[in-house]
C-alpha cells in the first residue's frame, strides 16, 4: 500500500511572524524579565537581595543584563533554544517560564539580530542569531530511501567565550538585540512607552521587587506597586487550600474608593500578576446572580495567589496575561471567589442605600481602616475563615463628618513647636484644635 503523507511540521516563519503577533512588546520584555527572575529563584527563592536586572531600551538597541545565575549550556541545548518545552523537561521549580516559547518569541518580536550570553559557573557561552539568515538556513539529510533531501535547519550556533570578550562579570545573562523591527523602533522612540513599561514592571513584578530584586530601567531603579485591602472594622474574606500540588489562597475585601481602574480581581501565579483588576465574567462578574461590575462596587478588591513547584499545573496562558478559565484548579478557586464576592458585594449594596452620603462613607472608611499590603495578604494568616466581616454602617459618624470642615494652614516650624509645647498639645493636629477653641473662647463666639 502506498503511504499517503501530509507534512504537519511547523515552519520557521510561523514562529518568527505568527506567534509573535499574540504578544505585545511590553509583555515580550516582561517574558525576558521572568526568565531572569526564574534564575533568581534558583539561587534563593526567598531573598533576591544583591540581585539585579538592568534594562536598556532605546531606538538603536535593547539590552537586558542580570546577575541572576545564568543558565547552563545543557539547558540552552535541551530547553532554552528549543521551540516548546520537551515532555521530559525537569520540574520548573516555582518558576513562571514554562512553555518554552517566551525567550525566542520575545527576541523575534523585538529585532533582527540578537545575542544571548550566559555565565553560570560551569559554562560561559554566547549564541548569536541573525534572524533572517536563520530563517532560510537549511540542512541536508538522507530520507528513508537514502536520498539526500534538504530540510529546515532549526539549530542555533553557540560559541564558548572568555572573560575578555564577555559582557558579564558575575554569573548571569546578557541579552542584546540590534537592528530592531520597525514597529519596535517606533514604539521605543515614544517617551510614554518607558513610563508604561515602568508601571507594568512595578505592578506585575511587585513581589520580586519586594524580595529585594533591583530592577533598573534606563538607569532608574524601579519601585514596587501593589494593591491593599482594609482590615480593622472589616475583615477580609480568606480561604486557603491545596489542590494537585498547587497552593491556592483567595482573599477579598474592601479598598480605597479612588481609581475605578484598580477595582476587581487580581490573580498571581508564582508571584507573577497575570490578571489585573478584572471585572469580567472570567472572575465571576455578571454570572450566577453576581452583578456586573458597577461603580458602586469600586471598593471591591479580590486576590488569588496560586503557587506551584510544577508551573505547568498553573492555569497560565502563554502570554501570561489572563488565566485559563477552563482549568480544573481555577474552577475550584472560582467557587471561593464567588462566595467571597457575594459576601463583599452584599455589604457594598447596603452602602449604596446611604444615598447621597454613600460616597462620604466610603471615603471615611478609607481614612479609618488599617491597610494590608499585597505582600502581607500573601503570607499572613487571617482569623476570618471564608467569611467577610463587614464594617458597621455608622450613620452617626457620617452626619458628624457632613457637619464639619477641615481647616489647615502652614506656620513657622520653630514657632509651631514652641506653641505646641506651651499649650500642652501632643500633636500639631491637637494644637490646631486648641488654637481654634482658644479663639472662639477669647472672642466669646461660642455659647457655653
Amino acid at each position: 500500500m502506498e503511504d499517503k503523507i501530509i507534512q504537519g511540521n511547523p515552519t520557521k516563519s510561523f514562529f518568527i511572524e505568527m506567534i509573535t503577533r499574540d504578544i505585545s512588546i511590553k509583555d515580550a520584555i516582561l517574558d525576558l524579565l521572568d526568565n531572569s527572575i526564574d534564575g533568581a529563584n534558583n539561587i534563593n527563592p526567598g531573598d533576591f537581595n544583591n540581585l539585579y536586572i538592568d534594562i536598556t531600551v532605546n531606538k538603536d538597541c535593547f539590552i537586558i543584563k542580570d546577575n541572576c545565575g545564568g543558565f547552563t549550556l545543557e539547558t540552552a541545548q535541551k530547553y532554552a533554544f528549543r521551540f516548546g518545552r520537551p515532555d521530559e523537561a525537569p520540574k520548573t521549580g516555582g518558576s513562571i517560564g514554562r512553555f518554552g516559547v517566551g525567550m525566542k518569541r520575545a527576541l523575534f518580536k523585538i529585532g533582527q539580530n540578537f545575542e544571548v550570553e550566559s555565565k553560570n559557573g560551569y559554562d560561559h557561552f554566547q549564541v548569536n542569531v541573525n534572524v533572517n539568515e536563520w530563517k532560510y538556513k537549511k540542512k541536508e539529510i538522507r530520507d528513508f530511501e537514502n536520498n539526500l533531501i534538504e530540510v529546515d535547519d532549526w539549530s542555533f550556533q553557540y560559541s564558548l567565550i572568555t572573560d575578555e570578550t564577555s559582557d558579564l562579570v558575575e554569573n548571569g545573562t546578557f541579552i542584546k538585540v540590534l537592528n530592531l523591527n520597525q514597529e519596535v523602533y517606533n514604539i521605543f522612540a515614544i517617551e510614554s512607552f518607558l513610563i508604561e513599561l515602568e508601571d507594568d514592571i512595578e505592578r506585575l513584578l511587585n513581589f520580586s521587587i519586594e524580595k529585594g530584586l533591583k530592577i533598573i530601567l534606563n538607569g532608574k531603579v524601579l519601585q514596587k506597586k501593589g494593591v491593599t485591602l482594609f482590615s480593622d472594622n472589616s475583615k477580609p474574606y480568606f480561604h486557603e487550600f491545596i489542590d494537585n500540588g498547587i497552593k491556592i489562597r483567595v482573599v477579598a475585601g474592601l479598598s480605597f474608593v479612588g481609581d475605578p481602574h484598580t477595582s476587581g480581581w487580581y490573580i498571581y501565579c508564582n508571584d507573577r500578576l497575570v490578571l489585573e483588576a478584572d471585572k469580567t465574567d472570567i472572575t465571576g462578574w455578571g454570572t450566577s446572580g453576581i452583578p456586573q461590575w458597577h461603580v458602586d462596587y469600586v471598593m471591591f478588591k479580590g486576590l488569588v495567589f496560586m503557587d506551584s513547584e510544577e508551573t505547568i499545573n498553573l492555569p497560565l496562558t502563554t502570554t501570561k496575561k489572563g488565566i485559563d478559565a477552563t482549568s480544573i484548579v481555577y474552577k475550584k478557586a472560582f467557587f471561593f471567589m464567588r462566595e467571597a464576592m457575594v459576601s463583599v458585594l452584599g455589604f457594598l449594596k447596603d452602602v449604596r442605600k446611604l444615598g447621597d452620603e454613600a460616597n462620604d462613607y466610603r471615603k471615611l472608611l478609607g481614612e479609618q481602616e488599617t491597610k494590608i499590603s499585597v505582600q502581607e495578604l500573601k503570607v499572613n494568616s487571617f482569623e476570618s475563615k471564608r467569611t467577610f466581616v463587614s464594617p458597621v454602617l455608622d450613620y452617626e459618624k457620617i452626619s458628624i463628618r457632613n457637619n464639619s470642615v477641615r481647616i489647615s494652614f502652614n506656620a513657622d516650624k520653630n514657632l509651631a513647636e514652641m506653641g505646641k509645647l506651651h499649650s500642652g498639645s501632643k500633636s500639631f493636629k491637637e494644637f490646631g484644635e486648641y488654637i481654634f477653641n482658644y479663639y472662639l473662647k477669647m472672642e466669646e463666639l461660642r455659647d457655653e
Binding site: K332, R386, T387, S390
Partner: protein, 312 residues
Amino acid sequence: MMNSPKKFNYETRPHKFTERKMLLASLQKICNYFGGIYQYIGLGGISFTDFKLFHKELHINELCSIEGGKFSEKRLHFNSPYSFIKIRKTISTIALNEIDLTKKTLIWLDYDDTLNLSMFDDIRILFSKLPVGSIYIMTCNRELKEKETREEYSKEKFKDEFGTLTPYEIENIDFSSENNFRTIQRMLNSHINNIVRERNNIEEIKIEFSQLYNILYQENQGARMFTYGGIIISKEFRIEEIGLEVFDFIVDNVEPYIIKIPNLTRKEFELIDSHLFLKEEELLAKGIVSSDHIDQYKKVYKYIPHFYDIRM
C-alpha cells in the same frame, strides 16, 4: 421584608399559621431523624412567632434573628421572647457572613419581598457551607413585577434584572400569576443545584439538595406568597428513609401544594370532621358543603388555627 407586622399580626394570619404548622410537623421528623443539635436562623421581625414555636417544639436553643428593617434595636430586644435569641440588625447577606454556617442549621428566610438578587446571594453563602442535614426554607411574594412600574416583567427586563439566573427558555407568560411560582421554583432550584455541583468538585463528601417544599398560599385579600425549601443530604442517602411520605404537602417537583382554607363556619367544619373519609357521600347529600370545600379542608384540617375572642 421587614415591615409586615405593621400591616397584620403574623400570629393571626390563618394561612401563614397553617403553613407554619405543616413545616413544623415535617421538621420534627427531619430533625429527629438526623438528630443532634440544630441552630435556627430566621427573620424574626418583632413577633418572633417561628422562634417561639421552634424553640418549644424542636428544642432548638441556638436561635438567631436577622432583622434589617427600620425597627429600632430597643424595640427588637424588647419584643424578643427569650434573652438567648441573638439579634442581628443588618441585612441577611451581611448577617449570614457573621454566623457559623458549618453547624447543622434550620433556616427559614421568610422574606416579604418579591424575588430579588439578594435572595440568590443568601443561597450562595448558605449552600457553600451548610452541612448535611441542614434545612433551607424561603418564603417570598411570588409576584414578578418591575419595582417602579408595578407591571409584570417582560423577558428583556427580567433578564436585565436577573442576568444569567434567568431560565434559558422563558416567555412573557412565565411572569403571570398562573406561572410566576414555577419560574421562581426553576430559578431557585437551578441556582442551588449549580452551587451544590461546584461544591461537590471541591469537597470529599458529595451532597445533594432534595426539595421538600413548594407551597402557595394567599392571605385573605393579601399578598400571594410562595414557599420553597428542602434539605441537604449526602449523595447516597435515600430521602425516603426519613418517612416524609405521610405528609401530602411534601413536594419534590415543580407543581406546588396549595394551601386554601375553605370559607366555612365552625359548625360546618365540625360537620365535615364527623363525616371525613368514610361518610363523604352522605355529607355531600346534605347539600351544605361542596366537594371542593371537602378537598380543600382535607389538605389543611390538621394544621389550621381556630381563633376565639377572649376577654382579658
